[in-house]
């Protein structure tokens, strides 16, 4: 027995080294969607992330009375919180990077189409042209925490808020010592670290024409964000109108793409780019990718072709039932 003791102690040590942090999960209803949080950490860490999500929702929502953005749109000049100012500043940079294919002032058009509360209608051409005159991100004046909007211009951070939330949650969790977490913010996925066993997270890219996912990407410390016309749309007179509006025309973007997925370490950039690249179409989107660093993409065209940028190609596997698809790799040169 005495001889067995050190052996047992060694065994116990080995076993305890194997066990990872406990898993804490919850579902959060916020930002007009359902979010699932899986955190390998303590309940307090999960609670802290939830509190952060609710506070970001309360300050960034364009529709919630009393939010920074609501107040700004109602008064045209408002001092927002330092946090909101940081996001506005980053969002305006992304608008500039995409040459206005992402425009955070397209909100009057979103309202006209009824995409905010679901009372859908098709605005006529003169109405859209009139609205298009007010859509211009460069007209937003940001000075510290003071924001000024010209007459008729409205700000909406919906295209970047979830990506930003993913970044902020990951930052918070990391500072609390969490090394592994998967945040699914309404289909906007943010993976912190790798899986508890050290292997990469596997994130599926949804088939825009079906109910399943068509390929899986292996990622670590990355956001994976998809924009697609299938996410929110309505039909009228046999025509389908989806929610991704082209800031130039203020009508649904018809660029030949069915969905765009952007992968990268910065969630807010991925979020904003997924919308912008969808508006730009495959050729312009690929050109922008070649000019920039910090993100990779998957494009699915209206014809069902799948294009993937070279940085992702090695970590992508086609799902069961999609083996026949030929992945077309876009390279840097």
């Amino acid at each position: 027995m005495r001889r067995a003791l050190p052996l047992m102690a060694a065994l116990l040590l080995l076993l305890s080294a194997c066990s990872s942090a406990p898993r804490a999960s919850d579902t959060v209803f916020a930002m007009d969607t359902v979010m699932s949080l899986d955190i390998w950490g303590r309940e307090e860490d999960l609670q802290a992330a939830e509190d952060l999500i609710r506070s970001l929702d309360a300050s960034l929502s364009a529709t919630a009375e009393g939010s920074d953005i609501y107040n700004l749109n109602a008064s045209s000049a408002w001092d927002v919180s330092p946090d909101t100012a940081r996001l506005i500043s980053r969002a305006l940079e992304i608008c500039a990077l995409t040459g206005g294919a992402l425009d955070v002032t397209v909100y009057p058009a979103v309202l006209a189409w009824g995409f905010t509360i679901g009372d859908y209608r098709v605005p006529d051409k003169p109405e859209l042209e009139k609205i298009a005159e007010t859509v211009d991100y460069s007209a937003v004046e940001l000075d510290g925490v003071s924001v000024k909007l010209p007459e008729g211009v409205m700000l909406d951070l919906g295209a970047v808020a979830k990506g930003w939330t993913g970044d902020r949650c990951a930052e918070l969790l990391r500072s609390r010592g969490v090394e592994s977490a998967l945040l699914n913010l309404g289909g906007n996925v943010h993976a912190l670290g790798s899986k508890p066993d050290g292997s990469p997270w596997r994130v599926g890219v949804r088939d825009p024409f079906g109910e399943s996912y068509l390929l899986a990407l292996e990622v670590r410390d990355c956001a994976v964000v998809t924009s697609g016309g299938y996410e929110r749309y309505f039909e009228e007179g046999g025509v389908t109108y989806h929610h991704i509006l082209d800031p130039d025309t203020c009508a649904p973007a018809r660029s030949g793409l069915a969905s765009v997925t952007v992968v990268g370490p910065e969630g807010v950039l991925c979020d904003g780019l997924s919308t912008a690249l969808f508006v730009m179409g495959l050729d312009r989107a690929a050109a922008l990718w070649r000019e920039c660093e910090g993100f990779e993409c998957v494009f699915v065209t209206d014809g069902g072709e799948v294009y993937i940028t070279s940085g992702l190609a090695s970590g992508a596997t086609l799902a069961d039932g999609y083996e026949d698809i030929e992945l077309q790799v876009i390279s840097r040169d």
Binding site: P208, E211, V225, T226, T261
Partner: protein, 123 residues
């Protein structure tokens, strides 16, 4: 003599027991596809779809409204609901890619095990 016979019996019993245990571990049915029904984040029912024998209707009532969940052998959907948008009913049968969500009523039905080899799906 008696002592060694007892010894043989004990060894045989242990051998047979471990054989039975090995057979059980190897042959037991793999955990099937389990649908989890949550209302406002609280798990209210967990159903192994592969063990369902006859159709069943489950009415989930919350402070926001009512959803009627239809459970059939191997599949599950929201059959009807008094929510304003009806997205949950239009979603059809649950699959591995995306959960069925009724946002206004905070009802979520997810599939775990068997169905999917990814950790999350975007979009």
């Amino acid at each position: 003599m008696i002592k060694s016979r007892t010894f043989v019996y004990i060894i045989s019993a242990i051998f047979l027991l471990s054989l039975a245990l090995a057979a059980y571990l190897l042959l037991r049915p793999a955990p099937g596809r389990v649908a989890e029904i949550r209302s406002d984040g609280v798990l209210i029912r967990s159903v192994d779809l592969d063990l369902v024998r006859k159709p069943e209707r489950l009415t989930v009532t919350s402070e926001w409204g009512e959803n009627v969940v239809l459970i059939e052998p191997g599949r599950i959907c929201v059959e009807s609901a008094d929510c304003p948008d009806g997205v949950c009913v239009a979603s059809g049968w649950l699959d591995g890619a995306a959960p069925i969500v009724c946002l206004p009523h905070r009802l979520v039905i997810t599939l775990t095990g068997g169905g999917s080899d990814v950790d999350a799906v975007t979009g």
